[in-house]
């Protein structure tokens, strides 16, 4: 029914996942992972799973992003690349 919307969101999901994998800046990668989580919540919403989408949006875009960023501030990059 929403094939065009689902295809667009799927392409965006793949793009955000690949960008998050490829980025060297870990802070930017954590933010891109939040974007990935939010787009997957939108996909759940399009597919009709409102409750799952709600959980994904709150936990994925809210809590895990914060936790990733806090962990990043507590670690240091030892290796030189």
């Amino acid at each position: 029914m929403y094939l065009g919307l689902e295809t667009t969101l799927g392409v965006l999901l793949l793009a955000s996942a690949l960008i998050a994998l490829r980025l060297k800046n870990l802070l930017a990668a954590a933010v891109t992972l939040s974007v990935f989580s939010f787009i997957s919540a939108l996909i759940y919403l399009v597919m009709g799973a409102v409750d799952v989408a709600f959980t994904e949006a709150v936990v994925g875009a809210g809590i895990t992003g914060v936790l990733f960023i806090v962990v990043l501030f507590h670690t240091s990059r030892r290796s030189i690349d």
């Binding site: 409102v50 409750d51 709600f54 959980t55 709150v58 936990v59 809210g62 809590i63 914060v66 936790l67 806090v70 962990v71 501030f73 507590h74």
Partner: protein
Amino acid sequence: MTSSSRNPILITASRLLAPFIQLFALYVIFHGHFGPGGGFQGGAMLAASILMLRLSVGAERSELKFRKSWGTPVGALGALIFAGTGLLTLLLGGRFLEYHYLPFPDLSRADLHSAGILLIEVGVSLAVMAVLVAIYDDIMEGPGGN
């Protein structure tokens, strides 16, 4: 993270946004019986609002809303509300979480179910909020703290 990086725009925006996020979280918790949402989502949203304040205005001022030492007691209280509701119905002759055995007089069976689910969701949301904030606080303390 450090106190030198405080931005007035961030502080004002997050202090303005936090009460609305908490109000919506309360709506999600108490309306979860009828629509999407429920205890876990509302609790996670409450935790997200407190974590936003922790990140923006700093730990010492955001402790006015939720103290670091409250994490474990409030989480345990939430779990106690959840398990206590179930064990209360067990004591009163029903099975675990069989809501219509709850000791509220003058309530019909359907109302007792609604009241029981409301108790469960309040317990779950308290536990989820407190534990998520406690995880954040423990990570911020770093290794070596207790």
